[in-house]
Homo-oligomer: 635 residues x 2
Amino acid sequence: MECKIVFQPEGKRGSFPKGTTILEAAREVGVDIEAICGGKLVCGKCMVVIEQGADNLSPMVEDEKRLLEKRLAKKSIKENYRLACVTKFYGDLVVYVPEESRGGEQVILKEGVELPVSIDPVVKKYYVELSKPSLKDDLGDFERLMKVLKEDYGFENLSIDYEALKKMPDVFREADWKVTVSIWNDREIIDVEAGFSVEDSYGLAIDIGTTTVVGYLTNLRDGKVVAVDSMMNPQVSFGEDVMSRITYAMQYEDGLEKLNQKIIEGINQIIKNVCEKAKIKPEQISEVTIVGNTGMHHIFLKINPKHIAIAPYIPALHASIDIKARDLGLNIAKGGYVHVLPIEAGWVGADNVAVLIATEPYKQDEMWLIIDIGTNGEIVLGNKERLISCSAAAGPALEGAHIKFGMRAATGAIERIRINPETFEPRYKTIGNTKPRGICGSGIIDIASELYRVGIVKKNGRFNLNIDTERVREVNGIPEYVIAWKDETAIGQDITITQQDVREIQLAKGAMCAGAQILMQEIGVKSVDRVIIAGAFGNYIDKISALIIGLVPEVSVDKIESVGNAAGVGARIALISKEKREEANKIARKVEHIKLAVHPRFEKEFSMAMYFPHMDRKRYPRHEEILKLRGEEVV
Amino acid sequence: MECKIVFQPEGKRGSFPKGTTILEAAREVGVDIEAICGGKLVCGKCMVVIEQGADNLSPMVEDEKRLLEKRLAKKSIKENYRLACVTKFYGDLVVYVPEESRGGEQVILKEGVELPVSIDPVVKKYYVELSKPSLKDDLGDFERLMKVLKEDYGFENLSIDYEALKKMPDVFREADWKVTVSIWNDREIIDVEAGFSVEDSYGLAIDIGTTTVVGYLTNLRDGKVVAVDSMMNPQVSFGEDVMSRITYAMQYEDGLEKLNQKIIEGINQIIKNVCEKAKIKPEQISEVTIVGNTGMHHIFLKINPKHIAIAPYIPALHASIDIKARDLGLNIAKGGYVHVLPIEAGWVGADNVAVLIATEPYKQDEMWLIIDIGTNGEIVLGNKERLISCSAAAGPALEGAHIKFGMRAATGAIERIRINPETFEPRYKTIGNTKPRGICGSGIIDIASELYRVGIVKKNGRFNLNIDTERVREVNGIPEYVIAWKDETAIGQDITITQQDVREIQLAKGAMCAGAQILMQEIGVKSVDRVIIAGAFGNYIDKISALIIGLVPEVSVDKIESVGNAAGVGARIALISKEKREEANKIARKVEHIKLAVHPRFEKEFSMAMYFPHMDRKRYPRHEEILKLRGEEVV
């Protein structure tokens, strides 16, 4: 005498003995209903609507009613809702599982990158209710917990972190034996908290750029970013680029110690800031993921970076590594881990691996070129057959440093600019639409592109002083263009772009462009199918400007994607997806690496690529067309 | 065209292609030849004697000659020795493998316990020679190491400790890529050292007694104890027994912190002392094993001991646990582990598990009684079918505390004593044969036994003041017996044993004896087949004295074994044998536990057991016989 049950909207069905719970039936037929408290009448997540057969159910219990009222507070229709975990059926039934009760959620990351990721974090929380010990039931606390974790969730042979062990006896008793357990990698109990806190599960993704450090506090249950904080890399005072910092570490006995301390303090500050913004405690963060180039990677880990700076440039390890946050000095949950993503080779580090798992060129038939612009830029070319990479020391110009009026993407930064080719008058847009204070990365690429397009700057990057406008002038013999007169700025002086600034931009774009050209030659292609521009410089850069100055090889504008800080997105993905973490390790081993510094053609390619768009115009055959694309747009 | 090879003395044989090395052939036919450098011509361990066919061998190489000369320096016959790892054979061969070149060694532990243990430590060292990296071979340091560990020793998927990772790049280069790697549990690289140091592999076994802490520095390659150090448990200043220390931890907010700090500092002092004695550095110790009762266990781990002191007396965990030494504050190798043995139940802790793996009652057909005498004493009764345990709060009397002239087993301690039953004059022996300074544990049991045997002390423990000797006297109304007059002592005063001292001994022996009686009743036996007396009180106690006072149930004297600090032996066994470590975990779960404190018959048994040998003389039917065994021996 079995009863039939149908789950809508999927239409899955089965027959079960009388007295089966709806949740048991759902699991049996493969319908995914959320029940994060493990059916303990605590979370109320497993809410379903009874479409037919409401009379065939077990009566509603007090706790069920309370939980349903709480969850249904904002709903207009409150009839026929039940909790699947406690409701038993004794006759045929049709049940509708609402969207919000369905498990196995996917999250679509939308920060430049649009990538569906199945949420399966490495740290997961489980709610358990333990039986109270007695003289007759005198199992130890750990063994008592393991017994229930096996019964309720099938775990066996878990180890326990020492810090979690220490707090466990008191937490169990204070919480009256109802606790939430954090398990890392299905292997180790890393935290024990009183009561039901499965939903308060947090991780922090950190992108350590040479110039900028960004942290994304992420809810591990739904993958959503709860708070973001960024700062200038505090190591900047020891040198602007990676090489000068490594030199510092090599010159002073406590150099590495100091550099490491700076970044650890910096990240702890980010932890403090994001926690304040999200109103959580740092110890609620269970895991941190870290990406950064090989230099940042080694210094963060306090590994001597000397050997990656001198030939044959060997890193301490390529593989990803999990280290207790307390061993690194990071203030999160005492038993929490830091997952450092794998590095590829040479300077192409964990940041680039993060970009790859966020963009997935290794799954493409088309030939993709991915350019991650930063003080140390990385370039990857390839498809599902083969991937090849290099790094280019572009310098911090495109992030606003080394530019007279350069600044980070903050209020008052000029982020867009257009110049009228007849009057040479500019129009610009600032972040926050306030008076300008300086120029950020996207504005810097725009200004270079516009100066060249309207003829103020020549192909070789030199100013044309014969242009008839008072905005082009010489100060102490150095040519410059006035973007904003002092009375229209917030800083009380003219905001200009100088001959020296243009040189810095040329060096940066030349390094990136030369790297891309060499990769294309290595793989044997004259053009690519798609260009992805990543970079942690605030706003997305303008694709047409990038094409005009020759920062990227020529493709149709609609084949260029500007995806923002893809390294940060990759770090977030690694937080919420065990599968993508494994993918990262596979990809890191798969990508081939070209060492530009010792490449025989690099010098020549570099000097040719300094030109706008390139000295070898055959490589940019559609350049005139592209120039025409840019009319005098209203910005 | 294969060549025959015979290995003597085993006589194992096989046929191999020309050019096979002797070591390869040995491995193929199952002859165990030591080659701890992995055949790199570094260790010279694989020395063999060529008995026939010396002409059929590859010529001797320079390094082989050097290593052989070094190893053969003390031998008179130096002919026909070769190293198996490099010597290839091209014709038939008879090889003799000398004792010293054979692997798979067993060690016989001989500290009271005689137990053969196969040496298979959890931390093992491996010597590797890495290829130097180049621009064309640019594998990371860790991956380079893993490649060789796989090729040479078959390791895959090892992780690396963060501290080992940090030092690795510099060690590799300083050591010119020839290094020794310490691997924990076939799972994690915990250390990397320059050059060949496979033979310098050390572990430390620590027995944390309530009153005494002992450390055994052990060579993990041969299981031999290299240095021993012991000290008074520095927690004694917070309370002499476990309960008073737990009370301290419960009363003061920083109580646990202070108690923990004391024992950690104490163990670090032991580490310092044994390292000085053995002339090694603390960072050469790769692992520590810890045993102790449940109270010492929790305090060592800085786990709140409150819940083991109040009903239902639940420990934080029963299972063994491995914790990084750095997390506990112990100064050994930075990546080294501490292995804390499992606990049974209640107060029967890791020390008792250690006693069990050192004595193996769970492998016996006979019914064994094991008494581990200490401030907190543990008793186990059983055989391979069933094991049952209890703990008895005996107090520190048998370790010399609470006794007027009690002292630890050190120079000047009276360790043996006999009293002439006619003259009541004593004869005694001191440790170091110096003038007496006091009485240690074995002497205390002897004096109680003798005072009772010659009639100075009655069955109920009271002094008989009618004895005609000036040695029995009353001081301030308290009877006492003078063991040594002040002019024969090193302390300038009479050394006596008082009525109060005898009471303390009665309490201690009564608790142990009552526990044993209750276990025997529980398991349903009136006698046992063998009694093992363990205890960390310096010298072994006298079996006949123990029988006379009724510390142990009546058995033939030859069925009593006095094994000294078996808990310490067990801790040493756990250091060198992975198999015995697993056995410890199984046994800890198997032993049943009786809670004496709440046992209905305990009070009655205790009061009866305070008598010499017992109030119920039916339980000691052969008592008169045993008294006669003890003549007036010359000591």
